[in-house]
Structures are given as C-alpha cells and as structure tokens.
Amino acid sequence: MRPRALGLILPLALIGGWDLICRAGWVGENLLPSPGRVASTIYQLAASGELWVHLSATGGRMAAGFALGVLAGTIAGALTGASSLLRAIIDPTIQGLRSVPSIAWVPLFILWLGIFELSKVMLIAVGVFFPVYLNLMLGIAHVDRKLIEVGRAHRLGRIELVRRVLLPAALPSYMTGLRSGLGLGWMFVVAAELMGASEGLGFLLVDGQQTGRPAIVIAAILLFALLGKLSDLGLAGIGRVVLAWQDTDRVTM
C-alpha cells in the first residue's frame, strides 16, 4: 500500500471507534454526538450557506495574516541573516518578543486596533512572523561558507551574493519556516476568533459551546483540521517543486 493511503488508516479507525462508542451508548449524545450527527451538522451548515460564511471569514483572516507575517518575517530574516551587524542590533529584541505568549498580545491589539478584523489579522501575523523570521535568518547565517567563497571568488557584490547564493541556499530552511508559520497561524486564528467574532470557525466553537451543541464544536474542530492539513499540503507541494534540487529523500516534505 502507498504511504499516503497508510496515513488514512488511523483516522478511519478513530472514527469507527468513535461511532462504536456512540452506538453502544457509553457516552451521552449531549456530550459526544455520533460521527453521523457531526457530518449532518456540517451538511446543514453547508446547505444553509452558513458554512461558507464561516470558512471564508476564517480563511480570509488567515490569508491576510499569513501574508503580512511572511512579508515582515522575510524582510527581517533576510536583513539579519545577511548582516551580522543588523543581527546584533535587532535579533535580541525579536527573541525577547518571541517569548511573549501569543494570548498576551490580545488585550493590547484590541486596545490599539479595535475588536474587528485588523486586530485579528495582526495577531495571526505575529504568530506567523517568528518562525519565518527565525528559520530564514538561521538558514542564511548557516549557508555553507564554501559556497559563499565561490561567490567571493567570482567577485559578487553584497546584494548579488544575497540574491544568488544566500537566499537560494537558505530556501529549504525558509520553507520549513513557512510551514511552521502556517501551523502557528492556524493556532492564532483560533485565539483571535475566540476573543470575539461574529463569524468564522472560532465563532462556531464559542457558539456551539454557549448553546450546548457539541456537534457544532466538533464540526468546527474537524474543519480546522481539514483546512490546516490542506493548506500545509499545498505549501509542502510548493516546497517539493522549488526544492527539487535538494539531495535528500525527506518524505515529510
């Protein structure tokens, strides 16, 4: 069997076990609705059009926050990676900020940016920023000295050296940063939507809890899992294409 098919065994078994527990009546329907109930809840959400409202709200925030975080992380990472002077000036501060728990930013962002979209997007961007920044900086800083010397031997200028040697060589590390950033972005989108939203998957979570409908909560969790996995697969696919030159057989990429 192909490895990809192997990866489906466990989730299917879990759903089967879950269904068994519900059918046997070991856990009350008011706590753990059956997979069928959750599926029909998702279907109803989709049929009423509500699902797309929530999905596009969450997806839109995520896309905007991810783009912003990647942009900032790439610029900061490239600068600090290529210049040890800039690294010495900037990096300690960023490392300090990195250790602030994400939720700690929430009150400040709400005060500064209001309770609407901007504060949510910024929170996601903060989450995405750090892994992108860190991986790109380290990726550039750890580029093989011997390759840099080839650039020097061919008398590349500073900018040319960054463009033609440092950035391509740091690309594997950068891709890792993008994928971790994406993962953190999904965490932060939930945090952002839990702090108050009128639409989005995070809103569904809160709404389901407050109205005592576990099927909605579980549906939202599953949709998060699906979106997270799909977006990561997309990024991994891009990685496979742009890193085809790598001499590895990493199956996780």
């Binding site: 011997k146 390759l147 010397e149 080839v150 020097r152 031997a153 061919h154 008398r155 590349l156 040319e160 033609r164 040697v165 391509p168 060589a169 690309l171 085809a244 030159w245 790598q246 001499d247």
Partner: protein, 241 residues
C-alpha cells in the same frame, strides 16, 4: 616582467606566533602548468588563496606579466566541486558570467561544457553527478570566465585514482585549448610530474619554497617511463629529506 608570475616577499599571518607564509619568493612562467607540492599545513593553500585574492597578504608583491593580478584575470577550482545545488550544470558553469550578455553567455557556457565533455549532462542537477563529473563542472565554471590565471587547490584529491587520471587528462586538454597560466596544488608527486612543466616544493610553516624542478618530459607523459621514474626519485629525495 612579461612572461612571468612573480611573487616577492609574500607574508601571511593569521594571528598566530608563526606566519603561515613567508617571506616567500617564487617566479613561475606564464602560459605554463606549474605545480606546488608539499606536506599538509605547509601553506600551499594560503599561497593559492593569496594569488586568487581570497586572502590579503600582510606583505609582499605579486605581479603577473608585469602588473598586479586583476580580479578578472583569475579563476579558482577548489578541492571540492562547490557547485550551487539549485543550479543545473549549465547554470553552475554560467555562475561567473552574470554580467555577460545572454547570447554571449550561452555560447561561452556551451563551449566550455564541450571542452570538459559534459554536453549530455548540461541540464542535470549537481545531485545527479558523480564526483568526477561534478569536478569537471567546477573546472568548466572556472574556465567560463576565460581566466588568464587558473588556480587549482588539490582539485582531484578527493577522486578515485582512475577518475583522477582522467581528470588530469581533462586539465591538459583545457590547457592546450585556452593556454591559461595554471598553478595547481597537489600532494601527489605523480600528478605533479604528469602535468607540470615547473614543480615547486614548499615546506613550512612558515611556508617557503625549498626546491624547484623543471622536468623535461614531453606530453603525454607516460607514468611508467624510465625518465618519469627518474624525476620521481629526485622528487622523493627532496621531499623525504
């Protein structure tokens, strides 16, 4: 003076008590193949790096055909191929030609790829190459910039003996084709004798020249010939003593 690569009083110190180099004096003929041999740590690589502009000497003068070496004159082949893994063979060969117009660049790349015999591998990635092929790409990359001075730092030492001999033939082909001044470092006496018109022996630290030979052997040099063996014995005498 024209026709000469002159090194006078070259000193390089890396902070330690003993200089790595010098003062070192050496005169080589331009347009020829010269070999620098000596044991590990005697400063051979540092000498080459000073010639290639990768290290700044602390003292001394280097003149090439009567003038300082211009950066555009030199190309270096390192011990490892040091190819950019994300570029194809052709892309790697073109690495030093960023400033050259596209059409001319492609022509130059195609020509050197031809000279080193890699026509069929031009679109391959470095990960698909054998060690010998990768080093031929490195040689082609150095040649592509049309250097007047080609420096090689133990370029074939990581290759198996058969590939090494093939690579030595490639280097001679290249030399006959372009006639650059070639200075290569080796710790292999047979390699030096097979290729070089001038062989200098270094010792150190501090690195200095302890002997010079000009083997009068015609190309192609048969490694099993009696004359070859006679020169070899003389070299062993110097290196052993």
């Amino acid at each position: 003076m024209t026709g000469l690569l002159q090194i006078e009083g070259l000193v390089k110190q890396f902070g330690g008590p003993v200089p790595v180099l010098g003062p070192l004096h050496l005169t080589l003929h331009t347009g020829c193949v010269s070999a620098v041999i000596g044991k590990s740590g005697c400063g051979k690589s540092t000498l080459l790096r000073c010639l290639g502009g990768l290290e700044q000497p602390d003292a001394g003068l280097i003149s090439f055909d009567g003038a300082p070496i211009r950066p555009d004159d030199v190309a270096i082949v390192f011990q490892e191929p040091r190819l950019m893994p994300w570029l194809t063979v052709a892309g790697n060969v073109a690495f030093g030609l960023g400033h050259v117009p596209r059409a001319q660049r492609q022509a130059q790349v195609a020509e050197v790829i031809d000279v080193v015999g890699l026509q069929d591998a031009a679109q391959k990635l470095p990960k698909q190459l054998s060690g010998g092929m990768a080093q031929r790409v490195a040689l082609a990359r150095a040649l592509a910039v049309r250097p007047r001075l080609l420096l090689l730092d133990e370029p074939f030492s990581a290759l198996d003996p058969l590939t090494r001999i093939a690579m030595q033939d490639h280097l001679l082909t290249v030399w006959r084709h372009y006639r650059p001044t070639i200075v290569f470092i080796s710790h292999d006496m047979d390699e030096a004798l097979a290729l070089a018109e001038q062989i200098v022996v270094m010792d150190g630290p501090p690195g200095r020249i302890v002997a010079e030979f000009s083997p009068c052997l015609s190309y192609p040099r048969r490694r099993t010939g009696a004359e070859f063996q006679r020169w070899r014995d003389r070299l062993v005498g110097v290196l052993g003593g």
